[in-house]
């Protein structure tokens, strides 16, 4: 792998060809906020929180899907970027109904942590106050659309890791919703294997284990890289 050199926040940094800007920054301990990104899953670049400024580019670029290249000059934090990130999180908060005080995920929620970190103490946009349904038809798990941020982690892990592709998104724009199979109640899904991977990866309390109390909602995500590593090794053995 060829070595490249780029500048992040006025600091000269060495990186490997093929790494994304986000990979490089995180390796160096530079904290770029993300929401849809999760190591081990295919990137979608949907949340736009990882936008960084790239010298010579007329607009900010998403760090998670932009490959680092020789000579790039990148700024990860500026007044403008911080303002954009705040707006993005505020828009997420305004779109659905995120009431932390009555949410099982309270205290272990990535959206909440992100908002706190960005210093969001109010939302400048009008709340949509959508009355979205909740699907508790599955025996062990439930889905509350009101807390969903459409990060697509559940859709991606179900497709690429579990191989079931139970989840997808229906509709478009602000009317988009996560659906199981042909928009069946989750309990009636014939493709779902009840593995719970989607629940563990959900950044908010949208997918949760039934009967769990707030203290039990710390999610276990180590399985993702363990499974992927085992698969990689198995594939190596097969080809050897």
């Amino acid at each position: 792998m060829a070595a490249i050199t780029l500048t992040i926040n006025n600091e000269l940094i060495g990186a490997r060809q093929g790494q994304t800007i986000l990979d490089v920054a995180r390796e160096r301990g530079i904290d770029i906020p993300t929401l849809c990104h999760l190591e081990g899953l295919e990137e979608v670049g949907g949340c736009r929180l990882c936008l960084v400024e790239l010298q010579g580019s007329p607009r900010p670029v998403p760090a998670c899907v932009t490959k680092a290249a020789e000579g790039m000059e990148i700024t990860t934090h500026s007044d403008k970027l911080v303002e954009y990130r705040k707006m993005l999180v505020e828009l997420l908060l305004a779109e659905r109904t995120h009431t932390c005080s009555i949410c099982v995920q309270n205290g272990n929620c990535e959206l909440q942590t992100l908002a706190a970190k960005l210093g969001i103490d109010h939302v400048r946009f009008d709340y949509l106050h959508q009355q979205l349904p909740m699907d508790a038809s599955r025996e062990r798990f439930a889905l509350d659309h009101n807390r969903c941020v459409l990060c697509l982690r559940c859709v991606r892990v179900c497709d690429a890791v579990e191989g079931a592709h139970t989840w997808d998104v229906r509709g478009r724009g602000s009317t988009s919703r996560i659906v199981a199979d042909l928009d069946r109640p989750w309990g009636g899904s014939t493709s779902c294997t009840d593995c719970g991977k989607c629940v563990q990866l959900c950044p908010t309390g949208a997918l949760f284990r039934k009967g769990a109390t707030v203290g039990e909602m710390i999610k276990e995500r180590g399985f993702l890289n363990r499974i992927l590593e085992r698969r990689r090794l198995a594939a190596q053995r097969r080809s050897a």
Partner: protein
């Protein structure tokens, strides 16, 4: 094909399914031909039922949720049967400034459904479209693909009277 276990009972022996099967065969059951297959299916059946979507998903070996996602993303696909008659009110710029909004509101009141919906008796689908290309007739509408214009809320209601039961009281 009668023994194909993937064919749901409601669709079995439906001659329209042959058209869909032929399209899928022609496209060699490629998953990325989904949109074209859905167009053919909608043309044949008028709308995309859950059974039809499930059948297409199984034939193209696609996850059902993905097929559903595509079918709901595009406005040209409809998952509910269309009414016997259709009325489309143009809400393009020219028609809109000439009062298309009032026509839509009045028609919604008169037939008791919102634009984009079909009356409970299945007689009429009310819809809107952004410019039907007849701006000189603004505000215009079509009933069963026949163009009418310029219209007023009252004249539009009159035109629908023969097709569907209308309520004359204003909201």
């Amino acid at each position: 094909m009668a023994e194909n276990p993937a064919v749901p009972p409601v669709l079995n022996a439906d001659p329209r399914l042959k058209v869909v099967d032929r399209a899928m065969k022609r496209l060699r059951y490629q998953p990325d031909a989904l949109i074209e297959v859905l167009h053919t299916a909608q043309e044949a059946f008028g709308y995309l039922s859950r059974e039809l979507l499930a059948y297409v998903a199984s034939q193209l070996k696609l996850p059902e949720s993905q097929v559903f996602g595509v079918a709901t993303f595009y406005h040209s696909f409809t998952l509910r049967p269309k009414g016997e008659h259709s009325c489309i009110v143009c809400t393009g710029t020219a028609c809109y400034v000439k009062g298309a909004g009032e026509i839509v509101t009045r028609l919604e009141q008169a037939v008791g459904v919102r634009a984009g919906q079909t009356t409970a008796d299945g007689k009429l689908s009310l819809g809107t479209a952004r410019c039907l290309g007849n701006c000189s007739l603004a505000p215009m509408l079509t009933i069963d693909d026949v163009v009418y214009g310029p219209e007023t809320p009252d004249s539009a209601v009159e035109k629908l009277r023969s097709l569907v039961e209308v309520t004359d009281e204003l909201g």
